[in-house]
């Protein structure tokens, strides 16, 4: 160009025409793309039309989940009934725990766990992906982009659901925001129902779609002077499945049939079996003192099982359907403060092995509440005396409580003090869905569908077509008015149908994970007994009708969620959801659920009245 101008200079003596030539030359190139510059450090306006695009953007979405992990757990757990604050608790956590958080989220002086934009980051990344992804790409006849496309839909719905559960009504949009003008407009707000209505129909189209998988991903070598263990992530477990989110969306909005349908669909398609998980009480002789009966057979030996603690192992966690894996240290990616809050220095570089006392922190900020300990302690532990054979009809009970608490809360001593620390985050993994979660929520839905017996089966024996389980605990008192349990499990939620029954032969009751022998007719863990107990606890005079049973079983499921899923971030969401079920059902007084919730949390002396549903939510601008 320059030489051209010089040439023109030499030949032309007409300055005006020359200027005109130059001007027109420059104006012709001075259209907007002249000012489009490129960088290999950033990507501008990607088209997402290559097969290889998918992974990077999907991982970008998953990274958004990592960034919100701490907030997800803390807003879910601190406001629930399972945690207690102590003298080391920082103000941000305290504000959540006593419901005094009233500042609106903004960058300055706001609670660090009240950053809704982190969810919107996930949402906007999903929106971009959904809007731009070319879903028609084929490898052979397989649409290769579909699993990732469905994943983006699922994650977006999950993120909206968390927002609505935390904030009530939230701004809602599904087009990607790519300009400030777009971002600063006022968006319509939606609550859980609105979000379900808006997002479920599209998600349903992808029901049954398998999650994408990229094989194993390394989260880096673990910290520690002697450790050389590498943390390995199964990428498919870092994904959120469509059907689980659909189940949640319907369950949150009291649409139980739909919820059960999609939970079960996930279970069926993925052959998800709630296997027996076991906590060996002999490992806790010291804590149990003399309470452990001498005739207890502590080796179960009953079929396939895994130790319950392996759910929280670092690299190959059992029972996990989807989780948020965090990096081994901050050089390797997004990290989490959760272990530290609960008294464990996961990132310690000097603390030696993962069980070294050096890693335990006296100044942990969160303890387990008395409610949690009492609930655990109150459970009976069932066992078959050693002298009996496996098919025995004698099942004894021992007053040693639910064993899961010993795994969850480890008693340690350090610097002359004895305290308990919570071990579930020793892996720096944050579970979102576990097999237990899916089954328990299915139980919650089936119970509200009018099938408390089927729901209870998930706690007790596990739903399986096993001749040894003869379902004696079924309680068909009003059999005439509703579908029989077996028929329900054959047709509506067809665990026991001909084609499916073989899949679930290894299902075990969730409650047995902590209390051992809950199966069969001879154990003390029976529906009638427990419902009666529960109703007494709830101060409800038994009228012998189904409503009371459903209400009581719902509380049993709620307790089971505490025992199985404590501190994983579900609790406040579980409580409010169940409170909404209770309010929605209207079995007793109209705000029965709110009152139930307020009672459960009364011990925390909340700064606001939880009788009002609006106070269940954090403030959002």
């Amino acid at each position: 160009m320059k030489t051209m101008i010089n040439k023109i200079n030499m030949r032309s003596k007409e300055p005006i025409s020359l200027l005109f030539i130059i001007c027109s030359l420059f104006f012709s190139v001075a259209c907007s793309d002249m000012f489009e510059t490129e960088s290999d450090r950033q990507v501008f306006d990607p088209e997402l039309d290559q097969k290889t695009d998918s992974m990077f953007y999907t991982l970008g979405i998953l990274k958004g989940l990592q960034q919100v992990a701490d907030q997800y757990v803390m807003t879910g757990e601190m406001r629930g009934d399972l945690v207690a604050t102590n003298i080391y608790t920082e103000t941000d956590l305290r504000e959540l725990a006593d419901f005094s958080l009233n500042s609106q989220p903004s960058a300055i002086n706001s609670n660090k766990f009240n950053q809704p934009y982190l969810y919107y980051r996930i949402i906007n990344n999903c929106n971009y992906y959904i809007a731009h992804r070319d879903t028609t790409l084929l490898t052979g006849s397989r649409k290769v982009a579909i699993p990732e496309y469905a994943e983006a839909l699922a994650v977006r719905a999950w993120a909206y659901m968390q927002l609505a559960k935390t904030y009530g009504e939230v701004p809602f949009y599904t087009d990607p925001l790519v300009s400030i003008g777009d971002a600063n407009q006022n968006f319509p707000t939606k609550d859980l129902q609105g979000i379900c209505d808006a997002l479920a129909p599209e998600l349903i189209k992808f029901s049954g779609t398998p999650v994408p998988t990229y094989g194993n991903i390394s989260a880096g070598m673990l910290n520690g002077t002697t450790s050389s263990e590498e943390k390995i992530i199964q990428s498919d477990k870092a994904m959120i499945p469509v059907d689980a989110v659909l189940g949640d969306l319907f369950l949150e909005t009291n649409q139980y049939e739909q919820a059960a349908k999609y939970y079960f669909n996930y279970i069926l398609v993925n052959k998800l079996v709630a296997e027996q998980a076991y906590v060996n009480p002999s490992s806790y002789r010291q804590e149990l003192a003399e309470k452990l009966p001498t005739d207890a057979d502590v080796n179960t030996g009953d079929g396939d099982y895994f130790t319950w603690s392996s759910i929280f192992s670092i690299s190959n966690p059992k029972d996990i359907v989807s989780y948020i894996p965090l990096a081994s240290n901050e050089l390797r990616g997004v990290t989490t403060e959760l272990p530290r809050y609960f008294g464990y220095d996961f990132y310690s570089t000097t603390g030696g092995s993962s069980n070294s006392t050096q890693r335990y922190l006296v100044d942990r900020q969160i303890d387990a509440s008395q409610t949690y300990y009492q609930l655990s302690q109150k459970q009976e532990w069932y066992y078959v005396p050693r002298t009996q054979n496996a098919a025995a009809n004698i099942v004894k009970t021992a007053n040693i409580g639910d064993m899961r608490r010993f795994v969850t809360m480890r008693s340690v001593s350090k610097q002359d003090s004895i305290f308990s620390i919570m071990t579930k985050f020793f892996s720096a993994n944050v579970p979102i869905y576990r097999t237990a979660t899916i089954y328990l929520r299915l139980a919650e839905a089936m119970n509200r569908m009018g099938q408390p017996e089927a729901a209870f089966a998930i706690l007790k024996d596990g739903i399986k077509d096993d001749p040894s389980s003869i379902y004696l605990y079924f309680h068909p008192s009003d059999y005439d008015e509703r579908m029989g349990t077996l028929e329900f499990l054959d047709k509506v939620v067809p665990f026991l149908s001909m084609e499916n029954s073989a899949i679930f032969v290894n299902n075990w009751g969730i409650h047995s994970r902590g209390t051992n022998y809950t199966q069969g007719a001879f154990t003390g863990y029976q529906l009638d007994t427990l419902v009666t107990q529960k109703m007494a606890e709830l101060n409800i005079t038994p009228m012998g009708n189904l409503k009371d049973t459903i209400n009581a079983v719902e509380d049993l499921i709620c307790d089971e969620m505490a025992l199985e899923l404590a501190f994983e971030g579900n609790r406040f969401g579980d409580l409010t959801r169940i409170a909404r079920h209770k309010n929605h059902a209207g079995f007793y007084q109209s705000n029965y659920g709110s009152k139930w919730l307020a009672d459960k949390l009364a011990y925390k002396n909340p700064k606001v009245s939880l009788l009002e549903e609006k106070n269940w939510y954090l403030p959002l601008k």
């Binding site: 030499m10 990592q66 934009y117 989260a219």
Partner: protein
């Protein structure tokens, strides 16, 4: 043919680094022609003329001067010369109002003449010798600018000179005592908040990107691209304080125009300059000696949280007082560590410059070598530079300017100053380690057998490692030894530039020029923190690290093209100089910055970054930005009385959003930058002349120019991609790659805009013996680049770059120059300048409130810079105020402490909500809101880094062949946050402290202003408070130079002068730090924060200059 030969020789001479002989050969073969011959005879339109008579006399001796040239101001067609009696008669058109009088060895003058054409007028023009600073040129400057020629300099980089000479025009802050680091420059206050506030640098008409906001690997270091220009190669420096609209979106911080030397005369001229100097160790804080430190450290031990676990007193071997014991000698030394890291440094400078040419081409060739060592050992630089500037006539109408330059700089650099974050890495700055290192240790290991210290360097100290291994400090002597090397701590820059600028003259008044420039800057930086002599360091959450290696390779290519059509015409009384043009700039910068650290297996012999390292990472940038600017400028004057300059620039810029402010043409938003300047040469008015003639009282005014103007300039240092929606590429877990939306493009993002009002005058009084230059200005910057929170939270990103907020700078500059003694052999010139500005934030985009005077009402925000939330930007206040706690001394007694608060003791609340009282020995922080709690609500403004006035004072004394130059700089009323002192007197760890800390509070009732010491400082006694804010006012004798011109007149030797220069001979200041002049960063919010980089010491340089 000759043209071709000239070009070939020129190229060859450039390549083989020529000797003067070649240049002279070339000169010898050229014909003896003069440039006058080539001038086309211009047909001069005939105007009615008037005759002006007069005499030129020497102002000192009153002797009439022959051969003084005169012409009508602004019109070379009417000229005359004085005769042997000094008398002249010049015929000039009747509209002429002033003459331009000039001659070698005398200062050029503009002299007003009367309107009348009768012979009553007889001018007496007193010529002043050119020993003084120049006053007039043949043009009249109506903008607020200042031009200085660079003649004698020992500076390594031009800003150092600019600061000394320009005084009030540019507030320069020498960055540090490390040679070549240059100076931060601020013209007319702080015209930005988050964007670059340094002036635009234009070298020989080409706009530069000086990478002013890029980072360096070493603490306290700055990669100064101006170092690429040898000040010896610079002819003139001009500071444009206003009227920068021509530079579009780049001129809002003012412009510095640098012109390099060019060949002007056909006579070959060889100029050699040699200088050698020494720099002395700068002033340093007085640290405690070994016994003082031993007491301090043992007291500090008592406050250590886990000290109760140590029951055996011999655990701490430095406390053993029995000389017969093994460890006694190891811990009983008296080491002055500063001697280990500072030394008397040498500097050398060699330059040769050859000018010459013929009627085909003129050239200027220069070669320079500079070696500047720092007083900090193993720091310094050397520079080799070559510059070749030519002006070639290809055709009668076609001329080409062809320039090339190449500079290679090697710099040895170590970390300097106190680190901002002590948790990220071990202290690695040798100069800072030398202050905090325990004086009872020795740099060398003790051999208990021989009972002598060996020559083996000590490892990191271990006298506290039983408490915590992280308390160990490195051995600065070992760091210097193991860290130096070309593959370790080294910065290498290569700068290449070429300019080709053909110019076509259509006729005598119209020309077209195309200036094309290509610049390549390659900067390679290596950082190495050695293993031997440094402690293992635990980085929280990551692990222990030994050594650290970083490297950064940056490359920037700058391409610019400037096409300009220029019209220059005198039409009777109307004079017009106008041009229109198009400027295209393209900058492409990329860097790669890998770094790594070993957890073990470090080896100082292989300081390379390797994947075997336990911790490695890489970052980088890849930025490209472009702009296209249409511009037009017209300078018009009527009879040299009324001046008008009008400018309009229209800029499209890749950084602007698609909906940016401006007009939309061809799908692009163009920012519009207009400017208009007015001037009125009052002394050229007829009535002024007649008044002058009638009232002799008025005749003391020789010259008076009033000026006023307004212009609008931009600052495009907005984030390169603020306008673009982008996905950032980052890691998901260890190895996987994730793309995440990291910016939402602001389609409205545009440059910051500064409007500049200027009112001023320039006067020359008492036979030009007194010169006054005064400018008052009002600058208002709108559309400040600020991080704005989203109106709602849905974007998934917390904030974005936007244009919001405004600020103002108002102030004045006054320069006064006097010539009290004008005698035959003695001339004295004295002058001073005063600059003043008031900076004020007018508005901010976010309505966040911070505490001021106990009320949370001040709109603004805080930034954390060498502290936590310690720099406040508040509407109605200047930018970057120091924001913290006020103190009123130390509680001497419990009685005093227990009644200080609203309800007894003052207290603070820790993170868990527990109260902790301030007891006797703690600082008494002022409880501004009176609630009894010392909390963020009690923070307020405690200092202002902006000076009240600043400037320079200078004196030039000529006595025969001796010239004495004195240059002072001063700054009054600015506050400094002495960050280094806050560490050296923090009393919160085992670092050695200044001797002031021997006054620390120890017993009930002790009256002192130093609080008790306590490990970890749980009460925050050393927090950011007015304890660390000091008055930074100073007056410094920056330069004292004596030049002796040896009277020689040999055919081969044109001139010889010897000179000696002393720098920083003394500084008058109350500042407790080493040096009140420093700049930790160019960034606006970093001003006035002293991390204790290497201070400037006294420098003495001697040299000679030879003209052949």
């Amino acid at each position: 043919m000759r043209r071709l030969r000239f070009l070939i020789i020129s190229f060859l001479s450039f390549i083989i680094i020529p000797t003067p002989a070649i240049a002279q050969d070339d000169d010898a073969t050229s014909e003896e022609t003069t440039t006058q011959k080539k001038l086309k005879r211009v047909v001069v339109p005939s105007y009615p003329v008037k005759e002006v008579k007069g005499i030129c006399i020497d102002a000192a001796t009153k002797v009439p001067l022959a051969g003084i040239m005169l012409n009508a101001l602004g019109n070379d067609n009417f000229t005359a010369m004085t005769d042997d009696n000094g008398e002249f008669i010049i015929k000039v058109p009747v509209y002429t109002t002033a003459l331009y009088v000039h001659s070698p060895q005398y200062l050029s003058l503009q002299v007003s003449i009367s309107e009348r054409s009768d012979n009553a007028q007889r001018l007496e023009i007193r010529m002043l010798p050119d020993k003084f600073l120049p006053m007039f040129t043949k043009e009249t400057n109506i903008v607020a600018s200042n031009t200085e020629s660079i003649t004698n300099t020992t500076a390594h980089t031009i800003e150092e000179d600019a600061g000394e000479i320009m005084g009030a025009d540019v507030r320069t802050l020498i960055r540090s005592g490390n040679p070549g680091n240059g100076a931060a420059m601020f013209i007319r206050g702080l015209n930005s908040l988050n964007a670059n506030a340094q002036p635009l640098i234009v070298i020989d008409g080409v706009i530069q990107d000086m990478q002013q906001t890029r980072t360096s690997l070493h603490d306290g270091d700055y990669t100064n691209l101006l170092l690429n220009i040898n000040p010896e190669d610079i002819d003139k420096v001009t500071v444009l304080k206003n009227a920068t609209a021509l530079y579009g979106a780049k001129g809002s911080n003012g412009v510095i125009l640098i012109e390099t030397k060019r060949g002007h005369s056909m006579a070959t001229r060889i100029d050699a300059n040699v200088g050698v100097g020494v720099s002395l160790q700068p002033k340093l804080p007085t640290m405690m000696n070994a016994s003082q430190y031993r007491v301090y450290a043992s007291e500090m031990l008592g406050t250590y949280p886990t000290i109760s676990q140590f029951t055996d007193p011999t655990t701490f071997k430095f406390l053993i007082d029995d000389p017969s014991k093994y460890y006694y000698a190891m811990y009983h030394n008296e080491t002055d560590w500063t001697k280990e890291v500072y030394h008397t440094a040498m500097s050398q400078n060699y330059n040769i410059n050859v000018q010459g040419g013929d009627d085909i081409g003129m050239y200027n060739l220069s070669l320079g070598y500079t070696d500047g060592q720092s007083t900090a050992r193993e720091n310094g630089f050397n520079r080799l530079n070559v510059r070749f500037n030519t002006d070639i006539s290809i055709l009668r109408q076609l001329k080409v300017r062809f320039d090339m330059s190449y500079t290679k700089i090697n710099r040895d650099v170590f970390d300097g100053g106190a680190p901002a974050d002590f948790d990220a890495a071990p202290v690695s700055s040798p100069t800072f380690l030398a202050l905090i290192k325990s004086p009872f240790l020795s740099p060398y290991t003790y051999n208990n057998v021989s009972r002598y210290f060996s020559s083996t360097l000590s490892e990191a100290d271990d006298y506290l490692t039983m408490l915590d291994t992280d308390l160990s400090l490195g051995n600065p002597t070992a760091v210097l030894k193991n860290g130096s090397g070309i593959n370790k701590n080294r910065v290498e820059t290569n700068h290449f530039n070429t300019v080709i600028a053909p110019r076509f003259d259509f006729n005598s008044w119209l020309s077209l020029t195309e200036t094309f420039s290509y610049t390549l800057d390659r900067i390679s930086q290596r950082y190495y923190r050695p293993n031997n002599g440094m402690p293992l360091f635990l980085i929280e959450g990551i692990g222990s690290v030994q050594n650290k290696a970083m490297s950064m390779f940056a490359k920037e290519t700058s391409i610019s093209s400037d096409t300009r059509l220029q019209l220059q015409k005198q039409m009777g009384p109307h004079s017009l100089n106008a041009f229109v043009g198009l400027r295209y700039l393209n900058f492409a910068y990329d860097n790669n910055q890998p770094e790594g650290q070993y957890a073990n297996a470090a080896n100082d012999k292989t300081p390379n970054i390797s994947t075997n390292m336990d911790f490695y990472d890489a970052t980088g940038a890849n930025d490209e930005w472009r702009s296209l600017t249409w511009y037009a400028n017209a300078d018009y004057n009527y009879r040299n009385r009324y001046y008008l300059q009008a400018t309009l620039a229209m800029e499209g810029n890749s950084r602007f959003g698609s909906e940016a402010k401006g007009v939309k043409i061809a799908g692009v938003k163009w920012g519009i930058f207009p400017g208009v300047q007015l001037g009125w040469a009052v002394s050229n008015e007829a009535w002024f002349q007649s008044l002058n003639a009638q009232h002799s009282t008025l005749s003391f005014i020789n010259y008076l120019l009033l000026k006023a103007g307004w212009d609008l300039s931009g600052n495009d240092d907005i984030s390169n991609y603020a306008a673009r929606t982008s996905f950032g590429i980052s890691k998901y877990l260890w190895m996987a790659t994730a793309a995440q939306l990291d910016n939402i493009g602001n389609e409205k993002i545009s440059c910051e805009r500064t409007s500049k009002f200027n009112f001023g005058f320039k006067a020359s009084l008492l036979n030009n013996r007194i010169g006054i230059d005064f400018d008052y200005y009002i600058h208002r910057t709108n559309d400040l680049l600020t991080l704005k929170h989203f109106d709602n939270l849905v974007a998934g990103i917390d904030n974005y770059w936007s244009n919001g907020g405004s600020l103002s700078n108002t102030g004045f500059e006054l320069t006064l120059t006097t010539k009290p003694v004008v005698a035959k052999s003695l001339q004295i010139e004295l002058g001073a300048s005063i600059g003043h500005y008031t900076n004020k934030v007018k508005s901010l985009p976010n309505d966040s409130r911070i505490y001021l005077d106990g009320q949370q009402t001040a709109q603004g925000f805080t930034s954390s810079i060498y502290g936590v939330d310690n720099i406040a930007t508040i509407v109605g206040q200047p930018i970057g105020m120091f924001y913290g706690y006020k103190t009123t001394g130390v509680f001497a007694t419990d009685q005093e402490a227990s009644t200080a608060g609203a309800n007894g003791y003052l207290y603070l609340t820790d993170a868990t909500g527990a109260h902790k009282n301030f007891y006797a020995g703690d600082m008494h922080f002022v409880d501004i809101n009176g609630d009894g709690e010392i909390s963020e609500a009690d923070r307020t403004i405690i200092g202002n880094p902006n000076p009240d006035i600043y400037g320079n004072i200078f004196a030039n004394v000529n006595w025969k062949n001796l010239t004495l130059h004195l240059g002072f700089n001063y700054s009054l009323g600015n506050d400094i946050f002495n960050y280094q002192r806050s560490i050296l007197e923090g009393g919160s760890n085992f670092y050695n402290q200044t001797t002031d800390m021997t006054n620390r509070w120890r017993t009930e009732g002790q009256q002192t202003n130093v609080p008790r010491i306590s490990y970890g400082d749980p009460m925050g006694n050393s927090r950011f408070s007015d304890r660390w804010i000091e008055d930074g006012s100073y007056l410094r004798l920056r330069t004292l130079r004596l030049t002796y011109k040896v009277p020689v007149s040999l055919s081969w030797l044109q001139g010889l002068s010897l000179w000696a220069e002393a720098n920083n001979l003394f500084t008058i200041t109350h500042y407790l730090g080493s040096d009140p002049e420093f700049s930790a960063s160019n960034a606006v919010l970093y001003q006035g924060i002293d991390p204790g980089n290497v201070a400037q010491g006294r420098t003495f340089t001697f040299g000679m200059r030879i003209n052949l």
